[in-house]
Symmetry: C2
Subunit: 370 residues, 2 copies
């Protein structure tokens, strides 16, 4: 079947671009000489996990308990749930561990560490716990020089439901950078914060086997990772228009797109309508403040055409030049490149996989929800 | 089970508020003396459809082919798919009709009408088709005085795969209004556009049995609907913070909320973290340009606390006053009122239904996707 026969909107995945992006990251990791723990919050797919993990040590990062359950059911045995743990979530994660996988979690407070230790112990379980470090984003984590770092470590090390496994940080503020040089500075801040925190823990007599950092921009545009034991990244597998703006990929590297149908022409407004709106594309406008506002996405192969407005199931396409209505009649198919592939992907149950051509060679399910 | 035992994030639905909102709309329709065709793009639930259709004539509006299939499978036999038709979608809609339901579709172009007539005829099917009218929003439709109106009507009336069933319009621009008086003006423009188009069709010798208008704000805040045969609205069932801003409901009428867990405290930033982020809440910022920016949602029962930023699975809560950390410890549950319940609901497979208290009395599935 070719994708011209798919219902619209559908989510397309170009496997050759995906494999190129994966190979590029693997090379980058080999050059850095550091272990890679891919983040599967973007892909949410066992088939993609298998591609990404080839040649790596086998550990993954996830963003939901459901992802942990799903990937464990697909044979992955080293899973880091990288959102601050709420103790009640340990019930399901303990069941994942009982099935044979190891699940690590993160915390950034004494209260959180205590609740985690007590709840896990009551379950008869024990979890490896990383302390989350704030390397400058201000979202979560303790700063590397905070007193709380050692207080949390003491709670985790005492257990019995917890084991202090190391430190973790994520330089989400790299997404606000406007030049590769600025991203590289943030990458160094990310590395330095994690390594500093690890050094303080070790100086206080703790073990700190894991020093985990990462984001797609900091790993691709940053420098050496001295003192880091593992790197995490996820969106690099697909890329998107926000990543193009950051300089981590080119538009022609973006591996996912939304297949849509032209459903209306409004030449008096120089607009056309497609059947991909806010639900099909998401309302992410991550490029709005940048040098090139891509609206809600760009039409692949149609330079200058962008989705300017969205409604639940309608996208309004426009351009600064007159639209090529004759070449895009009602019923024509277009492909929209997403601003943020994590958000857009989450609207779909599955990928329709191509090899770069029009043939759909596979359908790969996704694990959405919580 | 009480909702304190649910995983977070989860989508809660307060059935008593839902029923109050439904009863209010039914009274409004009775007062207007016009038929009501509820839009189920917000609720996407057979259980809610049953509540909404009690006492009505039984027709519904949908926004996706999958919704049409789902509601037909649940016994609804009069379905209007109210997004401009692409002929390829008629394959699945013809199958719905073959199962015993009647499916109406809409178009706003001669090319669309011709493709629809030819494709339906090739399938051995025939569809009722409404002509979409632009009442001022500029998204889709022909203006009521356009020559194209009669051209489209001629194509649809000639068939053989189509029957001209009337006209339809939607005043989406009511959402940009800032006062109830402005909404009432848009409501009159919506009514007038549809009635004018119907009059022109009839003057040209066509039948025009259906004159369909609607949106939640225009039906609740507008005046009489002379000449209109049916009204459509959907989001009124749940309400949301955008509707509060428009004046169609009060905050205490909002029937859906996202249950979340506090997962971190950052008193130095006067923020706390919850495990409901961009996927759990959506990135809708529909109130951003209004008099009260609700961020990505408000914490129910915690005046002044709003979700200020979102990441994939993190929400950052703040307030202009110091946050009540002692009352919201790590592990505490909160409920977030959504900006836009259509967008937030779409992230969930099901509603956890309460009767206003903490007890979960039912789980109602949703039909997402296309």
């Amino acid at each position: 079947m070719t994708f011209s026969h798919l219902p619209t909107p559908s989510l397309l995945l170009d496997r050759s671009r995906l494999e190129t992006n994966i190979a590029r990251m693997a090379s980058r990791m080999a050059a850095l000489g550091v272990a890679f723990r891919p983040h599967l919050k973007t892909a949410k797919s066992a088939e993609i996990a298998a591609l990404v993990l080839a040649g790596q040590f086998g550990g993954i990062t996830v963003s939901t308990v459901r992802e942990a359950e799903y990937f464990a059911a697909h044979g992955i045995t080293d899973i880091l749930y990288a959102v601050g743990i709420a103790a009640a979530k340990l019930d399901r994660l303990a069941a994942v561990q009982a099935g044979g996988a190891r699940v690590s979690v993160i915390t950034d407070s004494v209260a959180g560490a205590r609740a985690c230790a007590a709840h896990a112990a009551a379950l008869g379980a024990a979890f490896d716990v990383l302390i989350e470090i704030d390397c400058g984003e201000g979202r979560a984590g303790v700063t590397p020089d905070a007193d709380a770092l050692l207080d949390i470590a003491a709670v985790l090390a005492a257990g019995p439901g917890t084991r202090l496994a190391g430190v973790l940080t994520h330089a989400g503020h790299a997404y606000a950078c406007r030049t590769p040089e600025d991203v590289a500075k943030v990458a160094e801040a990310e590395r330095s914060a994690a390594v500093t925190a690890a050094r303080r823990l070790r100086a206080a007599g703790h073990v700190c086997p894991t020093v985990s950092v990462g984001s797609t921009p900091t790993v691709l545009l940053g420098g050496a990772r001295d003192g880091v034991t593992e790197v995490r990244a996820g969106v690099y597998m697909f890329g998107d228009l926000s990543q193009v703006e950051l300089g981590t990929c080119r538009e022609e590297d973006i591996a996912v797109s939304v297949l849509a149908t032209v459903i209306g022409h409004r030449p008096e407004h120089n607009t056309l309508l497609i059947d991909a709106g806010a639900l099909a594309l998401s309302k992410d406008v991550g490029t709005r403040l940048g040098p090139r506002d891509t609206g809600y996405g760009l039409l692949d192969g149609w330079p200058g055409l962008r989705v300017e407005r969205v409604y639940q199931e309608h996208g309004v396409v426009t351009a600064s030049e007159p639209l090529p209505y004759d070449a895009l009649p009602i019923g024509a198919r277009v492909r929209v490149l997403p601003n943020h592939s994590c958000m857009t992907g989450a609207m779909y149950d599955a990928y329709h996989v191509t090899d770069g051509g029009a043939e759909v060679v596979a359908v790969w399910p996704r694990v959405n929800g919580w």
